[in-house]
Amino acid sequence: MPASRRALVAVGPLLLISAVLFAAGDKKARPINAAQRSMDDDKRIVHALNRFTFGIRPGDVERVRSMGLDKWLDQQLHPEKIDDSILEARLAPFRTLKMSTREMVEDFPPNQVLKAVENGKMGMPSDPGKRALYQSRILAMEENQQQKKDEAAAANNPPPSNQNSAADQDKSTPPDMKADPGMKPDNPDEANLTPEERQQRLKQREDDMYADLGSGASKQPSPPAGAPSPVPPMSRPREAAMYADLQSDTLLEMPPEQRYKSIIKMTPQERLDLARAYRGPRVTELVDGMKPEQQETIEAIMNPQLVVGGELTEAKLLRAVYSERQLEEVMTDFWYNHFNVFIGKGPDRYMITAYERDVIRPHVLGKFKDLLVATAKSPAMLFYLDNWESVGPHSELAVYGNQRPRIVRRGPFGGIYQMPPRPQANKNRPSGLNENYAREIMELHTLGVDGGYTQKDVTELAKVLTGWSIDKPQQGGGFKYNDRAHEPGPKFIFGQRISEGGEKEGMEMLDILAHHPSTAKFISRKLAMRFVSDDPPQSLIDRMADTFQKKDGDIREVLRTMFTSPEFWAADAYRAKVKTPLEFVASAARASGVEIHNALPLVQFVNRMGMPLYGMQPPTGYSMKAETWVNSAALLSRMNFALQLGTGRLAGTNLDPQTLLQGKSPEDAAGALALLESGILAGDVSAQTHAVIEKQMNDPQVTQRRLDDTGRAPNYGAIAGLIMGSPEFQRR
């Protein structure tokens, strides 16, 4: 019914409202199924907030109602018009978010850079803070190498008695606890570690924080006998650490600036010992009051990469919770996931910050082609899917190796000879065509697996993209087109001839792929799966794909078509989506109004629910379907998170019980429950859940009401926790 569709787009919500009224009237007359029925006004607002944000905050429904849903949606489609200064202030201390990859590599040096400095291939930085960091990191690297040698030697010649040697210390510590990330070489082979260890290395700080959970208000139960005890690892002799501790007592009394300067003036060894003594959550004592840059420098002494990864993941969570530009955040998450890059693959760790900021975010509501081209030229993607080392089998590089094609040499009488290049027998020569990226572009980024391409097309596209490479990936270099690696000759894709044109061939192909009808359908379906349901109606997909093609892949327009479609507002779409772990954690934080001063414990929970941020290894990205996220272990994590958050026991957060009640003072338990239910779930609590919770309202243990102090206001945090862990809250 094209006419009515156009009318819908034009008249918009007015018509929809009348459609609702019509449906409501209709309902009395005869039963209709949920797919045809539409939502009422307030449900529409709740639905829109559930789909276009990371969760509803208390008061959001009222705000949108007074503003008008239409206007709100329009505003969200133009994030640049929304003031987001509160979030920006929160993110200001995370300096890496604004750095280029090169700056990050320099400020938070990986071992390759440290080795280059050690070997004199790179200069030691002149800035005193950076210099101090480099010196201590080089020392840590050397110690680590020495320790490995010692271990080998000790194993060859076992000591007769149990000495306090570094190796022994290490062995007596459970291995998952000895993951002192600063002590491990961070370069060569992350893969040598189990995924858990890998995670641990990245997230050591959070783990420590988690171990510290509840150490404030409630006492942490001591682990049962035989459990791995959280012994802080000390790879250096104990005396050194004790010395560092003694010295730090006076340090902690100094004003921040003086404290920072004293640390910078220490010997590299002292500084490293100090950092080890204050590793994990204790580092906050050491850096208290310092400027962000100083804090980062001190934290990097223990593990530079942790600063980079920590700030990135923390920022993602904070944005989801606090940004006013919610649709932009949702779309950034969506497109990052669509063009997924795994943080754990070598130098990608340093590239992802810039990838999300400069490649994904600027285009999330723009033209699809711009997004595709930007990702294709991003070092993060080129490294992740190996295209940077793909070499055309007949390219100059493949035939002659790294040797220059013409060597100019002065002859014995001053004449110039041009030596013909010799095919190189070097076994380290780049090995050839790598199809990974070409395949994923078609299968995952554009056409979809059934989008109508063949293996031949993949191979030809791989040839087209040879030479799309990176300038020094380990040092944070950018995109570089290397013509010497490019496969010569014409290529044939979808039966079309792509004539030889170097880098231009790739641009031509990306344009074809971005405008392919299969791409329009594939992207539309995926958007509908994110915003409507796991199995979206074909009619909706077709309509969205139609807009995609007519409007040159304009994502904003595709979204507009989606939410002006009746399928979007169909009653059976209401709370039809199960939240992903990120959506769940962010929505709980938003619903509870919690104050997050350290987001890493929340990030850690998202990881444990099976969705490590930036940590999806295969290029498919995370699934958006319910079945992926609903399993026993993850469900337990969700309930535990909800309880910890609600009762204020989640590290890194403060939850004022009054905030849960939206500043109001309910007269009785029933009033309080009503407030909590409307604040957290917009009132969408089932009768069963309500009945279960109602029973708990009078349990003094739950509300922490004290019989000897009846005047004290009950704490409804545990009740909030129960609501957030309920089946209803798992959906959006």
Binding site: K148, K149, E151, A152, A155, N156, K171, S172, P174, D176, E190, A191, N192, L193, T194, P195, E196, Q199, Q200, P221, A227, K345, G346, L385, N436, R439, E440, V578, N607, R608, G610, P612, Q617, P618, T620, V630, N631, S632, A633, L635, L636, M639, N640, L643, Q688, T689, V692, K695, Q696, D699, Q701, V702, G721, L722, G725, S726, P727, E728, Q730, R731
Partner: protein, 420 residues
């Protein structure tokens, strides 16, 4: 709608006995024992050595002259009396001397070895090679699920259980990703609601009631399973677990993992497949020989597996344990007394139905012209042939094509026939 069916089955069984009177974990135990007898009760434990273990120094071809020529400082000396040399197995191959724990298993005929096995993909990247081995689809990056999950999915459910597929560790490994619900846990004591605080029971009961009564079919089903699982674990009383006599798990994460695998299996929770891993095998520098890094790690590795075997006792009869690593290491040692990324490797297969005491597979040799790309042990057995036999012959899944899609040897005639 497997979930609802499962819950229905359970509820049915419980209703007969009377839900309100007898705790459901007790009825589960009764019910479980029945299905146990009727069902297959077969289990597969999969162990991954991450970082590319040096198979040539783990199961040493001590009769190969070339082995000693290529590894002047890290070769393990030929078998001789007085130790510090290869533990001979069959006159050609032998175990690293720190793997004494494996020798009795070999002698008893439980332990088999497959040498020169691996993934045919040519990558020497840990990242890609592990990915391929876990997805079970070498060369195909976009496979979303893991082979072990597909293996479970391809089988009839012997016993309704949330613990059909378990992994030890904080995150679910790629091997177990997929449509069958799989549980990952680093510590089975943490598998509960609300921790051990005073309000924990109240909170747990409240959630249980909510999910039990929920009309949301997906969450209702999984919620019920979850609380059932929590109770099952609690009834297994993991805090009081003592391994069987003689099962001495080494200290460390790997030993802890395998001890908990044994706990889960012995608690009769319906475990069909389990996964654990051990890292640290990437020995580019100072690999060591009779002593050193490789010795320490192989000791931990073999002791933990032997402890698991002892701990399982009679249950070992229905258990197969298989090990793998993403690729092998160069046949020659490098300039740092270590080895670099190579190709073929060794796999261990241990279990009741295994015809052990034998090295399976064709040995390609270590002469220069026999080496893959002139540097690595060549692959003569695809790792999927080994895993496929365990899945088909032991677990009883007949649909190998779905477990290893695109594998042209997904057929019993390519099995090594290491199962009795």
């Amino acid at each position: 709608m497997a979930i609802t069916r499962r819950v229905f089955l359970k509820s049915g069984a419980l209703a007969v006995i009377g839900t309100n009177v007898i705790p459901s974990f007790l009825t589960r135990a009764v019910y479980g024992a029945e299905t146990q007898a009727g069902g297959s009760g077969k289990r597969l434990v999969v162990l991954f050595q991450r970082g590319a273990a040096d198979g040539l120094n783990i199961v040493v071809p001590h009769a190969e002259q070339a082995y000693y020529a290529m590894r002047p400082s890290i070769a393990i000396p030929r078998p001789r009396n007085g130790g510090d040399s290869v533990i001979d197995l069959d006159g050609f191959f032998g175990l690293h001397p720190s793997m004494t724990a494996f020798k009795p298993l070999w002698d008893q005929g439980h332990l088999a070895i497959v040498h020169a096995a691996g993934s045919p993909d040519t990558t020497r990247s840990h990242f890609d090679a592990q990915d391929y081995m876990e997805s079970g689809t070498p060369g195909v990056k976009s496979t979303e699920d893991g082979w072990l999950n597909r293996a479970v999915a391809s089988m009839k459910e012997a016993q309704p259980s949330p613990f059909r597929a378990v992994a030890m560790g904080g995150a679910l490994p790629r091997t177990l990703a997929g449509s069958v619900p799989a549980v990952a846990m680093s510590d089975i004591r943490g598998f509960a609601v609300g921790g051990r605080g005073p309000g924990a029971a109240t909170a747990s009961n409240s959630f249980e009631a909510m999910y039990e009564q929920s009309v949301d079919t997906v969450l209702h089903g999984t919620g019920n399973e979850t609380f059932e699982a929590v109770k099952m674990l609690k009834s297994a009383d993991p805090e009081k677990y003592t391994p069987a006599a003689g099962a001495n798990y080494p200290r460390g994460r790997f030993g802890d993992s395998l001890r908990q695998v044994a706990q889960l299996i012995k608690a009769n929770l319906g475990v069909e497949v389990a996964f654990a891993d051990i890292g640290g095998w990437d020995h580019h520098v100072n690999e060591g020989s009779v002593q050193g890094q490789i010795a320490n790690l192989t000791r931990e590795f073999s002791q933990a597996i032997a402890a698991l075997w002892t701990d399982l006792g009679d249950l070992g009869e229905n258990t197969v344990i298989v090990t793998m690593s993403e690729f092998g290491r160069t046949a020659r040692e490098n300039g740092n007394r270590g080895t670099d990324h190579g190709h073929a490797n060794v796999m261990f297969v241990l279990g009741g139905p295994v015809k052990g005491g034998k090295v399976y597979g064709r040995w390609p040799g270590l002469e220069q012209d026999r080496l893959y790309e002139g540097r690595d042990l060549a692959i003569t057995t695809d790792f999927r042939q080994v895993l496929g036999e365990a899945v088909y012959g032991h677990l009883g899944s007949k649909n190998l094509e779905s477990v290893f899609p695109g594998f042209d040897k997904a057929d019993p005639r390519y099995f090594l026939k290491y199962l009795g």
